[in-house]
């Protein structure tokens, strides 16, 4: 953490209008020996307890197995990494729990059970619970003695969570709420001791959250769902039939449930991105090993350019995801500290921190899960016919990957949420985007500037490209908001285009800054492959941003306005040619030599 110097506190979404220095961001190479040892313990746990039993876990024949594995991981202390020390946890920072999520991300269904327990299961109590609630639940959730689940989704309320129909009615003596309702897709439902349940009181507009112990009674459930993937994850429909909950088990205040649900999901999103990065590495490693063993035309197929291209592209995207994930994780940690220093209590400061970076959390959920889909798809392709066999390990990777684009808010919801939040903050004046967008508007009409074109500083040209990509986004978003005003959120296709552009610039910039920081530490020679990764990613980001931008502006602009913006787009997406093929070859060679993802 000492590695970050001269840090100026950055706000969520501000990356769009601010130039960030390499030494301002946290990179995973900054993790301490202890943190790396924690990650190694996670990997050892997977090797010892999970990998040998993957089929058994997925079969769910032994209904107790997942609960037992959760108990074991609890004994290692891995369920209490983020739980405050006051409640017998380790009280480590958020980026440490991101690292743990990534290290356990290759554990297939187990990773889902782990994430649900430590995230949506534990955090509502940690951040919204009273002192008594925290003292009662957090030590046992942190040790793994109790397991938790989160009951929000209902048959008719998925993405529109606040429309849930479950009801909570106060008893006449005022001592209990009687809860009735049906919840579905409840991860860990079958073995959970503690249920975080969202229901409406009377005709309230908003949900209220409750902590329900299994032993309070009135809880029944269906058999585990049959799913396409994450088959070992115990996912059930849970029914609450006159479940009698003491009033002191209400979480936060009446009507605060929707806010809790939304804020907890923010955190879950960025951690999901860390977790799927671990999954991506597992899939790529399977593919790299297979490509070495598999011989066709008398040579290993890893010698073929088409295969090496897939290996390189997978490694590039994983590296990029990690770069942005840990940058964002540290931003969140810094925000916690700042809010706490300003006098907020710990839980409140944490919530504020997550809220501040809700944009980045949503963007990374999308990017991480789509990287995993890309990597697993290419892993199956590298396996060829064998990849279609249910006996190949990539079969499980492929099936388990798919849910990640759906849960924790679908990627479409997350794209709209990220862009919508940026626009909302800009309108409120919290994010000074309007001034920057106006400046870009003027620049389009002026003669192009050639200043700084001859700088020899590392990545000087690439940083100018990033700056211009941000201008592209401001140009397109500014014009769209001007056109549709407050109705912009109804223009979903344009919102998707904008989200794609914003994701690319955030991830490309994070990748470039990570590599710049690395080169600053050990020199260009030691990190030449990482440099290739950053440069290839940037080239592709430019193409993607140009395409998405063109899609958006041609949909709403015409005539001179359209021509002006197309010219702006061309000017702002200019980048010097670069031999991506040779760079990918060097990246693939490095991964193949190590026989695994090695950055």
């Amino acid at each position: 953490m000492e590695a970050i110097q001269n840090k100026e506190l950055i706000k969520g979404g501000e990356f769009l209008i601010k130039e960030i220095e390499a030494n301002e961001i946290f990179i995973q190479e900054d993790f301490s020996e202890e943190q790396l040892m924690m990650a190694q313990s996670c990997k050892d746990f997977i090797a010892k307890e999970i990998t040998p039993r993957l089929n058994e876990i997925d079969s769910q024949k032994d209904g107790k197995l997942m609960g037992e594995l959760m108990t074991k991981v609890g004994q290692l202390g891995l369920l209490s990494v983020g739980v405050p020390e006051e409640f017998e946890g380790l009280g480590m920072n958020f980026n440490s729990s991101m690292l743990v999520a990534e290290a356990l991300g290759g554990a297939h269904s187990f990773a889902v059970a782990f994430s649900a327990h430590t995230g949506i299961g534990t955090l509502p109590i940690q951040y919204y619970g009273t002192q008594e609630q925290k003292a009662k639940y957090l030590p046992k959730l942190g040790s793994g003695e109790w397991k938790a689940c989160y009951c929000l989704t209902e048959p008719d309320s998925g993405s529109d969570a606040n429309s849930a129909k479950s009801k909570a009615v106060l008893t006449e003596d005022g001592k209990h709420y009687i809860i009735n309702g049906q919840k579905m897709w409840i991860t860990n439902g079958g073995f959970a001791d503690v249920f975080i349940v969202f229901a409406k009181i009377g005709d309230d507009k908003n949900l209220t959250a409750f902590i329900i112990d299994k032993e309070m009674g009135g809880i029944t459930m269906n058999e585990p769902e049959h799913k396409m993937g994450i088959k070992g994850s115990d996912t059930r429909q849970v029914f609450f039939n006159d479940c009698k909950v003491p009033v002191e088990n209400m979480l936060s205040e009446r009507g605060n449930g929707f806010k809790i649900a939304v804020n907890i999901l923010n955190i879950g999103r960025i951690k999901l991105s860390a977790s799927v990065s671990g999954g991506s590495k597992t899939a790529l490693n399977h593919a790299v090993n297979y490509a070495k063993e598999r011989k066709q035309f008398n040579v290993s197929i890893n010698t073929f350019g088409a295969i090496r291209h897939k290996i390189a592209q997978s490694a590039i995207r994983i590296f990029a995801t990690d770069s942005a994930n840990y940058r964002c994780g540290q931003n969140i940690d810094d925000a916690f500290e700042a809010f706490q220093a300003a006098g907020m209590d710990v839980a409140q400061a944490k919530l504020k921190g997550f809220e501040q970076f809700a944009i980045e959390c949503a963007l990374m959920k999308v990017h991480g899960s789509e990287t995993l889909d890309f990597v697993t798809d290419e892993a199956v392709q590298i396996y060829g016919g064998m990849g279609f066999s249910a006996d190949a390990p990539v079969d499980r990777c492929y099936r388990d990957s798919r849910i990640n684009r759906i849960f924790e808010g679908t990627n479409e919801i997350n794209r709209m949420l990220a862009v919508g939040t940026i626009i909302k903050r800009a309108m409120k004046g919290e994010l000074d985007i309007m001034a920057s967008a106006l400046a870009v508007g003027k620049e389009i009409l002026s003669v192009p500037s050639f200043e700084n074109d001859f700088s020899t500083d590392l990545f000087a040209a690439e940083k100018k490209v990033i700056k211009n990509l941000k201008k592209t986004i401001l140009m397109v978003a500014g014009a769209a908001v001007q056109k549709f005003t407050t109705k912009i959120s109804e223009e979903q296709e344009i919102m998707m285009n904008l989200a794609d552009m914003i994701i690319e610039v955030y991830v490309a910039e994070s990748t470039l800054l990570r590599v710049e920081k690395l080169i600053g530490i050990k020199g260009e020679l030691a990190y030449s492959v990482q440099k290739d990764i950053a440069l290839v990613y940037l080239q592709e980001a430019v193409t993607n941003i140009e395409n998405a931008g063109k899609d958006a502006i041609t949909s709403f602009a015409t005539g001179d306005e359209l021509n002006g913006m197309l010219m702006g787009l061309k000017r702002f997406t200019k980048i010097a040619p670069f031999n991506k093929k040779d760079a990918r070859e060097r990246i693939a060679a490095a991964v193949i030599e190590k026989n695994e993802y090695c950055f």
Partner: protein, 245 residues
């Protein structure tokens, strides 16, 4: 009960081995180092015995400063303190001398180590240490229980196993399944840095061997597939090419 476990810091088994400086030195540039797998079993059993007997557990490594993360892993697992002899461990006699020197000052009841390191695979150090301390040494021990001052052991021998009993103090080379390997828990990891790690200079510089040159084993040649019905070709190849018949 005072237990000493000697651990090695060796290249991960998946590392690509390369030599530099005229094939006299291992290129450590991109190698991931780990605790020797046999040593891991020794540490795991020592932790169990420490817990059973309420004794103390010290880990020792002959190595340079780069080995300290490996030592801290043992501390994270449950060792009480660590001693690092600040020297390159290239010669079994040299390493044994260092261990014996420390052991003489501390009167350990039990000295455990892996049956062999997985870099040089000498498998000699436990025997030498036993000789230097004038106490029995046994290897490879697959099972170890203590009853008072008596160690009850199962040892692998040519073509079978033998059950042994011996009085402490002892030097033992360990192998699986003496204990299940353990994973450091989070509290252990966080407390490892605050446990004592003593660095001492080597007691005696005497080395009996020096590396002249390393060489990699020859690359494996391809497998020849012979059709099941073509036994004659197989016999011909075994006689004329492989020259084993």
């Amino acid at each position: 009960m005072k237990i000493l476990v000697c651990i090695t810091n060796v290249p991960d088994t998946t590392s690509k081995i390369e030599f530099i400086e005229g094939n006299t030195k291992l290129n450590t540039a991109s190698i991931q180092f780990i605790t020797g797998p046999y040593d891991d079993y020794a540490v795991s059993r020592a932790i169990e015995l420490k817990e059973q007997t309420g004794g103390t557990l010290t880990v020792l490594n002959v190595g340079t400063a780069e080995t300290e993360p490996t030592m801290r892993k043992a501390l994270a697992l449950g060792a009480d303190d660590a001693i690092r002899i600040n020297a390159e461990p290239t010669d079994a006699y040299f390493v044994a001398q260092q261990i014996a020197h420390i052991a003489k000052q501390n009167n350990y009841d039990l000295i455990l180590m892996g049956r062999e390191s997985i870099d040089f695979n000498g498998g000699q150090v436990h025997g030498m240490v036993g000789q230097m301390l004038n106490i029995p040494s046994l290897s490879p021990v697959m099972k170890l229980d203590l009853e008072g001052n008596t160690a009850k052991m199962l040892r692998e021998i040519e073509g079978g196993k033998e059950y042994l009993e011996a009085q402490l103090p002892l030097v033992l080379g360990c192998q699986e399944p003496i204990a299940e390997w353990k994973i450091p828990n989070m509290r252990g990891i966080m407390s490892a840095r605050s446990k004592p790690l003593l660095v001492v200079e080597p007691a005696s510089p005497e080395m009996l061997t020096a590396v002249s040159v390393f060489s990699l084993p020859p690359a494996k040649t391809g497998v020849k597939m012979i059709a099941a019905e073509d036994a004659a070709s197989l016999i011909a190849l075994l006689q004329n090419e492989a020259k084993v018949l």
